[in-house]
Symmetry: C3
């Protein structure tokens, strides 16, 4: 069986995936899935949805392909060449081969005056358009004259949208959902951190001798791909998913963040709250659903109503490199990925043990019989057993592990250990 | 159709109503209703309840009439003459024509040592009695000698109690209740501010092209008249009234106040809370039901249980002029009345739009299709649409407009505008 | 009929009970019950449970008898003699007659280095063992040599466990439970304060002309005796008991404390909260169920779930003399006992009146008819009746006396007086 892959391996996979020119459809998505599949101990099934299909209020767009794109300056220099950086081209640009004056070209250029050395990431999926992105510094050097624009792209009306899906069966048919996306071109944190940590979780899950829950891991494309996945599976997901996590921007070395569900009370919220409070208390950041921005938008939408939160390290939009060429392989680090992996893994570990517990006997059990209580009663002698009797006192069929931690003011490893001991002695049971 | 009447007009009607000698029964009530009717764009129906009728635990008293009342001092001067100020006579006084020594007279005199220049307002509706009210200053000048007391009043056992009722039909049979009273003699804030603002609301409601709710406006006499109205209509009111407002002391330039319902959680409480918070945040005053004192006492009594609050500017009992001759035409101002009107009108405006909203599609709609979202996705480009997507996210069939404001931290005009746009595009619906 | 016994009498009974050598079974328990019976105005029924019987997860141990126990030092001095202080012997010690070296003896000796002048209280009920307790000071004087150990005890397999039960019938079959224990040897606060205050309560209850609730008072032995009582009566207790109080450590002059039930929301919690807040505000101490340690452990255990709290003055474990020979007749005082008695009696007084009240008429009643309201309405004249109208306003069939106190911000004697007046006039009723 595979070893759980560590931060170093994760970072190497990020580097392998980084150059691929992804979009919400097309070759880049399929290449990315192929690389992930190569590193994955269980199959990733690639799903296909035809262009033109309906996904709730949305229509799957034509599949986009691009081979070459650049601008030739009046001096004959090639700039904004996607073979240098695939962020240079507005994603989903129409094909163009024409010469423009600088004045004519300007409306098609995008740059960030506040971040003069960053190439912005721009898309126009649903409106026919074209454009180039470049640094403000480069843009400021452009002189009057004729600019040759070349975009060799096509939009295949009979194309497809793809997403990958992976399933790991546990004892229960109830599922934990992990969702991440593979639609952004060369950016590291807001793209590749999520998929590689999902991969690491698959490794870790595969290594467990028993799993209570079944796990569904989805590598989708943001919004449209997620809506397609939901359209394909909604009833089943609503029946089975007890908690879900969108992973995004989870490989940097910043805080540990959560974007809460619509009302913030689902099992996913509760388990992440506990992990944040107990393991990352000084580094936790909570964002309400008003500050959402990733696929929790779909999973928690009215009528979808899945118990899903988004887990990040520094949340999308909260780091300056976000959606620019600066979100690169230096922002995402081995240590950052390792921390992000621990964060999600901790949540799954708690969930796996999160049952409602019930004492098996009326009144307190005679713990001394099980060697769980000192036989000699002397002032203070029962103090070390206080944690156990406190847990036991609240095993009344009302409280799950998460609530037991709150009620007893103990950590979840402490409560888990106690519950394991109590179960060995048949002093508590689960429903 | 009439223009909504403004503060200036309202103040002129206050001046017209001010001199009338009102009580809980009698000519003053009917005269007041006639003046209100003259200025009202819809009929005010005058109800009649016979003296001696039972209203729950109460008996409607004999109708009181008074023609003349005064005291003649030893020097022959007429004082405490109701033709000068009708507060001089204890309301519901028995007829008297007799000469008393000052010592004999004193127990029948009422004045306020702490407010030596104010004539107090005193009533004795349910116990046979008589008396006069005067300023402490005047009382202190009285010298020993014989005082002729003359009260030409009568108590008609076959009289009646009157109240006025006005109805404006909306699309729904569900009703908003507005209740105010016309039983106090010449006092301005604690009497006439409520009726004239009710009149202004009737004008405003009549001008609306459509109304969702129907409106019932009651001009009653405090406590007994309100109990008669409730006795006549209780079952219907309990079925139909979704929110109600008692208007009292609402024409001065003080705070904007609410006396909450018994538990403070009715729709009337909630809507007034929102309006106070968003429109009058710095000037709001909240009083619990423990500090009640007007007809919310009856509307919220056990077994009545109507969803009613009282709206005031400076609450009764909280301004020094309260229940004295100092509560006059200088305390109630055009600006004060205009503000009081806005306060209640704002509540009605919110109520009219206060539906439970539900998104029509699963997942987020593709707002770009409706030109509600930028087609080009660039860093920060979706920020202006954030308010709309936040409102939409909580249109899940659980939340009314009031709750949407709280959840999205937006103002109700913002949320109303967004909901209107969303309804135009059939993206939300109401149940 | 007896007079309620006062602090002085209570202290004399404590002194009478103090020398008896109690354990969880045996003569000491029966002697203690006999003394209590002598001072009790109603019968205390002595229950018997055979040794070897099962009580949920526990087995009733053999009955323990002890006649003599001491150590003879190398110099021939008798020390640790139970005829001097019965704490010297580890409770439930096996019989021994043998000579040991000091080194062999040491593991069987118990003392408290931090409290060098205190004899600790040590038990070993459920594991065969023997030992002696002595002050650290005395222990430090022991020299090498031979020590004769003599324990003349026996464990009767065909013995019994006893507890006492007393019942005072009220109009209702619903019960208030008072539970205290009589299993500790010569200690005053953590033993005898509870039983004597229970005795005082029985006197007080017997003197009442009418009681709403029935009262069950149990003199048991901690843990095992309580479990036997529960095993014998559980279904009946679950049906009948509306509130219960364990009394322990309730005769010193410290704070007034409560150990709350598992979730802290039972009627017993609520009534004690009110009494603490209103009568002992500056001296109240609240402990959560996490800090429990007396028979509330059994009464509130999962599946038992009785509405029981423990009332103490200084809580067990929170005073330094706890479980040592220093918990003696100087710690428990007349004044301390008197205060403890008042504390519990106050709770019972409130409970006796704690009904859900409902106004009999719709709207406010005309209080003037009943001479409960001033006939003359003058500014401020209704202020004295405000407490009554506030209570009445919340007599809506939802609130018991406890909640009425909270809602009206009045004391319970004030609310009780008002309710009595209102009931006399048939203005409120109880369900």
């Amino acid at each position: 069986m595979n070893q759980t892959i560590n931060g170093e391996t994760l970072h190497s996979i990020v580097r392998e995936l980084f150059p691929i020119f992804r979009s919400i459809t097309g070759e880049g998505v399929r290449q990315t899935l192929a690389v992930l599949q190569k590193h994955c101990p269980v199959p990733i099934y690639v799903r296909s949805v035809r262009s033109g299909s309906q996904a709730f209020d949305w229509t799957v767009p034509a599949e986009w392909r691009v081979r070459e794109a650049w601008i030739k300056t009046p001096s004959g220099e090639k700039i904004a060449d996607i073979s240098v950086n695939n962020l240079h081209l507005v994603n989903y640009s129409q094909p163009v081969h024409q010469t423009f004056t600088l004045q004519e070209l300007q409306p098609h250029l995008h740059s960030l005056p506040d971040q003069p050395d960053a190439i912005p990431y721009v898309t126009s999926y649903y409106k026919s358009s074209w454009g180039f992105c470049l640094t403000q510094q480069q843009r400021d050097t452009l002189i009057d004259g004729d600019y040759e624009v070349y975009i060799d792209s096509e939009h295949l009306a009979d194309g497809e949208l793809n997403y990958g899906e992976c399933y790991i069966a546990g004892r229960s048919e109830q599922e934990i959902l992990i969702s991440t996306y593979i639609c952004h071109p060369s950016m590291a944190n807001n793209e590749l951190s999520g998929p590689v940590i999902a991969l690491a979780l698959i490794h870790w899950l595969s290594e467990q001798t028993t799993l209570h829950y079944s796990y569904r891991i989805v590598f989708t494309t943001e919004t449209i791909g997620t809506l397609c996945f939901l359209q394909d599976n909604l009833q089943q997901l609503k029946q089975k998913v007890v908690a879900g996590f969108v992973l995004s921007c989870i490989g940097d070395e910043g805080h540990y963040s959560i974007v809460h569900s619509r009302y913030g009370h689902t099992l996913a919220d509760r388990v992440a709250n506990l992990v944040l409070e107990q393991n990352f208390a000084e580094q936790q950041q909570h964002y309400s659903f008003l500050e959402r921005g990733s696929d929790e938008r779909q999973y928690c939408a009215p009528g979808i109503d899945l118990p899903v939160v988004t887990l990040c390290r520094t949340k999308f939009g909260k780091f300056s490199q976000y959606h620019t060429s600066l979100d690169d392989l230096s922002l995402v680090t081995e240590q950052g990925l390792q921390g992000g992996f621990s964060y999600v893994k901790n949540c799954l570990e708690v969930l796996e043990k999160n049952r409602v517990y019930r004492a098996t006997c009326l009144g307190e059990p005679q713990l001394g019989k099980y060697n769980l209580y000192p036989s000699l009663s002397l002032k203070g002698s029962s103090r070390p057993t206080r944690a156990m009797t406190n847990v036991l006192a609240y095993c009344d069929g009302q409280n799950d592990l998460l609530t037991l931690c709150q009620l007893t003011q103990l950590t979840y490893p402490e409560v888990q250990d106690i519950l394991q001991t109590l179960r060995q002695h048949h002093l508590v049971t689960t429903d």
